[in-house]
Amino acid sequence: MEYTDRLIKGHGKYVADITLPEMLYMEVARSKVARGNIISVKGGITASDANFYLGSSGEGYGEANVAVRQPVLAEKYVSYYGQPVAAVYDSNKYVARDLVETVEIKTEYLEPVVTLDQALKLPPIHPSITSNRASEFILGNEFTNKGDVEVEDELYLERVITDPLETRGIVSFYRDGILNVWISTQSVYSIRDGLSASLGLPRAAIRVMQADTGGAFGSKSAVYPEYVIASYISMKTGKPVKWIESREEHLMASRPGRGALGKLKLSATREGKIVGLRGEIVIDIGAYGDMLGLNSPAWIARQLTGPYEIANAYLKAIALYTNKAPLGPYRGAGRPEASFFTERMIDLLADKLSIDPAEVRLKNATESTFRSPLGLVVNASKQFLENGLRETGYWNMGACKGVSFFILIPAVFGGESARISVKDGKINVWLGGNAHWQRHELFVRKIVSEVTGVPEKYIELNKGNTEELEYGVGTWGSRSAIVAGQAVYRAALKIKEMAEKEGKDIISGTYDYSAMEDMSLDPSMISFLLTVTSANLNEVGDPIVKSCTAFYDVGEPLSKVSITGQITGGLAQAISEVLYESQTYNKEGKPEAQTISEAGVPYAQQLPRFSVIISQGGKSNTLHGAKGVGEAGTVGGLPSIARAIENVTGKRVRKLPVMYSVR
């Protein structure tokens, strides 16, 4: 059955829907303080029974942070509210929940490090380090050109919970020397490799099968403590163990995104030509950082010149430890932060010079391929910007509008794999990047059908499975169409070649081929995103978004319906993130939003209609010509919406979400 039809008939098979004989249900007892020394833990499985550390994490970064290793169950001290301390299980899930209530955790209070200022001033939160500076980078070179004018500002994006509608979940079953895992994930490979490193099991002894995955947005890319402990309990008991995250747990202890501070200074000529960018990016990575978290400040800083020709740049980028849940990637993962920082500064410059913000952007857009002082290579962007401003009707809009123009860099790093198997008149496809139904099957069918000539109805995309396809990377960072698309293209070419050699019709033969496609970033793969927003005030004078138009470059559009849906989803996220969506922490480091509504996930009646114009700004140098889409709407949308809000309220937007900045 078509997957959409399966899901709308209620026939999906999500992790929570998997029931195995003799299944045990796990619940996790968590720290109720953000920081403290553990005096005693009574009840459940504790670190003294299961002494494991998280081995590695997701999004293409295989290595673990060796300076501060994250224990699967807190050992001597707790470092964030909601940190797993003990685990209980029972064959009845209600009883498991009763049991977790009986676990007694006694801690000695330690003053938590909650804010970035505290992180810089207070002693380190872990004994193994000498300061809360988890990583530090310098990008670009010092320069002296100060231009005619300088603008300076401090910008902040609050933490945001990923909140996929399906929370995290796992079923682990250790049987006959093999750990079988069914999981809601973006990458069966991250999970397999992470569990292998954490538990000390060989990769070959772990089979990971992706269940239908009800959204992920970054939070399902990595291995988490609960997955390790559920697997441990299965190994101990020989029974299948299920753990489903509660929303409450998700809000306190999954990996949120953002928490990014930018202190920036732009130097420019009187005419608005930017001559230099200076500043500092500071990221709140929470209590533990994997390589993704540690590298995130540099990744954000590197993008800051965006689609502009900025000859000089000098940036410091730091990650800081705080007593909060470890940071993870979220919708755009570093791209919306960069876009927000740069674009907010350009608006500030435009205001200072009394030039239309679009004119300032036109003045700085690249006219030929440009290598930035931060090491980023972008193609000419000016023509695209000119077209976009015209097509979106920007010039004819009223005063309460915002425009932003930025880049989307797909995470092609690590390449991707694909397998095509032709058998019994059917073509089965597996991707290394696991679809959680961003409509990967549409581009897979299109590519395979176009290459092989076999009609789309015979082609099926399967869920992630380490048995069917041994190596792969994952779905994140706007990479699937571009990298997985290329891998499946390559595999399809190979299958076609095999059939031609035999002189056979493809569909009547039996062929199997797995391709591992390596890829490195090429400027042709970088998309340009132009977003135009208009805003209003509602009856009580609060800002609302009236319209939002995206003019985005996707290269060769593989599936317009999925591209449009991805973009409207990203724009919706951008609106709520600018206006009201966030997770905040009180002085004690306790997360304040305790329901999905309190975290500010938007509803249908709070959003405007979006217009999406798919621009064909040139194909990428890939076999299929596509570029990334992923979270283009969030990356492109944030600064444009922020500007429109700023114009309608008359208050500079420095901090997201705006509805908190009223504090």
């Binding site: 039809d5 709308i8 509608l165 239908d212 009800g214 929303r247 409450e248 961003q438 509803y603």
Partner: protein, 153 residues
């Protein structure tokens, strides 16, 4: 305690723990896993079912409270093997992404269309204001429901 329910036109009599939530009764006892648990606090509507003809959030009800009621879940929303007009419209426009919200949205929208002949966009958005979709920004789903409203029942 003993409860008696009619679910998707089938009678069920059985013993349940008083604390059992209606959603777990449907999912675990009856195996109707199309009804999902998303937020547990009545915010997201993934657990929506029809109770005596009206959509409710089954994660905020005890099975005991539903004793004697008629329930329709996503598995029973369209008669027979086919799809109802909301399902067909979503299927045709491929308006879904992850699909976790789909059961609840289909039920809420189906009920809404039965009571509203010619809804406009803002009516549809209001009708879905108890259901969260995190993927699509709602627009494709709202459009699919509007399209369904134009179809004859």
């Amino acid at each position: 305690m003993k409860i008696k329910l009619n679910v998707n036109s089938e009678d069920y009599t059985g013993d349940v723990e008083p604390r059992l939530l209606l959603v777990d009764f449907l999912r675990d006892t009856l195996g109707l896993t199309g009804t999902h648990v998303g937020c547990e606090t009545g915010s997201c509507g993934s657990c929506t079912v029809l109770l005596d003809g009206r959509p409710v959030k089954s994660c905020l009800m005890l099975a005991a409270q539903a004793d004697g009621s008629r329930i329709i879940t996503i598995e029973g929303i369209s008669k027979g093997e086919g799809m109802n007009r909301v399902q067909k419209s979503i299927s045709e426009s491929k308006a879904l992404q992850c699909g976790f919200c789909a059961s609840g949205i289909v039920i809420a929208a189906t009920w809404f269309l039965e009571r509203n002949e010619n809804p406009n966009e803002s009516d549809v958005r209001e009708a879905l204001s108890g259901n969260i979709c995190r993927c699509t920004g709602y627009q494709p789903i709202v459009d699919a429901v509007l399209n369904a409203s134009k179809e004859v029942k």
